[in-house]
Symmetry: C2
Subunit: 434 residues, 2 copies
């Protein structure tokens, strides 16, 4: 069968990973897909690449790839937005398939790009855009294609998970953990994209579009980052039997679709609670299979290349069926989401305060699941003597909680900002019986 | 596009699950694969099925399905061996694709059936044969197709995992846990197939064949069941930081391929150690991706149907590329496998015994990682006063360990059979950094 001829744009981390993997496993890949996959051209703005390109022709002009009629597919490994987007449009116009790891581009421009590719009968592969090397897009698109998907919750940003894991394991505060992540190359110099949840929201919107057959709804994702989570919260949560994880969650029910990215308390016994460091994991709840989970490295040159090469192999084998079916649903805003809550209320250390808080919650119909009143830490930054009151509530609608918290926050007995973190006990992937 | 027309053989648990799922999600499936999948005929030896067959024609003759030229694909949900095998051969002769959940059949007859199907350009789908609804065959065949696979270790028999989990959680002994599993429908009346490791060996040989592009080597799988694992072993292991799991493991290195199914100590912090009850999980180590894990329900009507319908959807979409490439490798026997060991040595309770055991191990070049000498339990079934000496060794070749244990077992100070369980610390899927 005819060789699949590849043009690679970009020789950064991802591009070099693709190059390395296609070279290293060339024979294996040929055996597995019954035809060879050959890198014929590489384009990069770097004048002299310090890597062995094999038989591939190097160019500093992207146009050389587009103009080469022998190239079947473009691997976009430029990253960023503008140039990559232009490249995608140009590739489609040049009748070339595209494979990319660019989550921002798919999340923000997929509603244009995907229909364009479908109309042109071209493959647009983006397995690498979500959860790095974990084949979770394939699981949704194919492995679980007979299932109605109800909910997806995932640890889909390795930087945030690394920071929360480090805070949990070492007791370091957020800033120290962030600096460690930066030293280790797990966080960018400007980490906002990761720690504020934008990257996770990009990935979540892609998963939701596939799961529910819908256009991408990146703009509808509710986002909260991890920078307000304190070491104390992590410790209190642990004492109550929870871990704090930064989750991307999408769920569909009769009210509609909700999309949200925020820190969450997850019961310690659940698999998702035990995903540490830069690892990613995606848990899918679906009607036939129930709860299944997919975990592994969410970033890095070779894990990302693993997904890009899997897309190339799919293309080589002719496995390019999409499952775009243009469904639509009402979007459910965060204020209509029902979850349990963890509350940390810095309160004056005197009798009756806890009773007052409980009364206020109760007056809004909010039940308390667990409560502990802790000695505060050594820091003396608040003038009056106070203790953090830690409460886990039962499930309640977010807007009801907002009203209750506004009342409690206004009380004379509350001496600082109330911390509130949602508790996600709704998933059932305990891997446990009874 | 033309409807994919399905004939279903068998209306037991699996067959009814397929029927239910194809009916319930018919519209969704059509949308997702761009053509409809229609059940046109159902065959079962049961005269009057108590289920709604929709528009499907019922028959007690399997031949009616084979003779129907309109049927594209046969779903084999008969189970067992002889009839199912005849059906497969007949289906291939009748130019029909086949989808099955029958692990025994694929493991024991796949070397005939798979090449026959390939030669006839027919699809033989068996995603449901391993790990129930978890799309792990798809992950190996497609998602990780760019990777060289190094090792797979999996909890692939839900019955055994349920029993070990129950023993661990409740402190019940093996027989009680087995009876509970039988009451709950998680174990057969004759549970040998599951608890002796045969079922896991079937599945492991299928995973290995896909991972390494080899024929099926069911006969080469080393098998040990779980019936010798005691509650005490589970407790001692936990105290030392391990869980006992029944694992299927295949690994390839320069010496060759090893295939083994046996109880294993897994470090408590690893994801695999935390898969409980009837859940399954498969962990794959590969060169580009590193360690990834796939977990979920390993059995049951609808999870199994989820995989069968996924195979139907692959067929409907034309995604039937195999990765059979007829590789071969030397088989490495269990005696040449290097692992660490957990040893429970019932020894006379007097000074110097531990030193003697340590000396004997040392004389075979075996180092000790950890040792504890326990008060024995209340039971007085051994006449002399004795204690179990618990040892975790460093890695050593199995045949060296066999020699050392033969010497130790022969000692006057050892009063009962030595228990030995392999320790699998080799996998790296801790989902942890640093």
């Amino acid at each position: 069968m005819k060789t699949l001829r590849v043009g690679l744009c970009g020789l950064g981390t991802v591009g070099q990973g693709v190059l390395e993997l296609l070279q290293k496993n060339a024979d294996l890949i040929s055996l597995r897909c019954g035809r060879s996959i050959q890198l014929v051209r590489v384009a990069s703005r770097t004048e002299k690449p310090q890597v062995d390109l094999g038989n591939a022709v190097f160019s500093t002009r992207i146009e050389d790839l587009l103009e080469d009629a022998d190239i079947d597919v473009i691997v976009e490994a430029i990253g960023g937005s503008d140039t990559a987007l232009s490249l995608m449009h140009a590739a489609l116009k040049s009748n070339k398939h595209i494979i990319t790891a660019n989550k921002a581009l798919i999340a923000e421009h997929g509603n244009i790009l995907i229909p364009l590719a479908l109309a042109a009968n071209l493959y647009l592969g983006y397995e690498a855009a979500v959860a790095g090397g974990i084949p979770v897009i394939k699981a949704l698109r194919e492995g679980l294609a007979g299932n109605q998907i109800d909910r997806i919750s995932g640890i889909i940003n390795g930087t945030s998970n690394f920071i929360l894991s480090a805070m949990s394991q070492s007791g370091d505060d957020f800033d120290t953990a962030l600096q460690d992540a930066q030293k280790l190359g797990y966080a960018e110099a400007d980490p906002g994209f990761d720690i504020d949840g934008v990257d996770a929201a990009h990935k979540l919107s892609i998963l939701a579009a596939l799961a529910f057959g819908m256009p991408l709804h990146f703009d509808s994702v509710y986002m909260e980052g991890i920078s307000d989570v304190s070491v104390e919260d992590i410790q209190y949560a642990r004492d109550l039997g929870y871990r704090i994880k930064h989750l991307g969650i999408c769920s569909m029910d009769t009210k509609g679709l909700s999309l949200r990215v925020h820190p969450s308390l997850v019961p310690s016994g659940q698999m998702l609670a035990n995903v540490e460091g830069v690892m990613n994991a995606v848990q899918i709840e679906s009607d036939a299979l129930g709860s299944s989970m997919y975990s592994g490295p969410g970033a890095g040159a070779l894990p990302t290349a693993s997904s890009i090469v899997a897309d190339l192999i799919d293309l080589a084998r002719g496995n390019t069926g999409d499952m775009y079916y243009n469904n639509e649903a009402t979007m459910v805003g965060i204020e209509k989401i029902k979850t349990a809550y963890y509350l940390r209320i810095p309160a004056v250390n005197k009798p009756g305060v806890l009773a007052e808080v409980a009364r206020e919650l109760s007056s809004h119909g909010i039940s308390i699941e667990a409560v502990t009143q802790r000695e505060r830490n050594a820091s003396q930054d608040v003038a009056v003597s106070w203790v953090p009151v830690i409460i886990i509530t039962r499930q309640v609608m977010e807007d009801t909680m907002n009203k209750a918290l506004a009342s409690i926050q206004a009380s004379d007995h509350v001496v600082g900002k109330i911390m509130r973190i949602r508790v996600e006990a709704g998933d059932t992937h305990k891997h446990n019986v009874g």
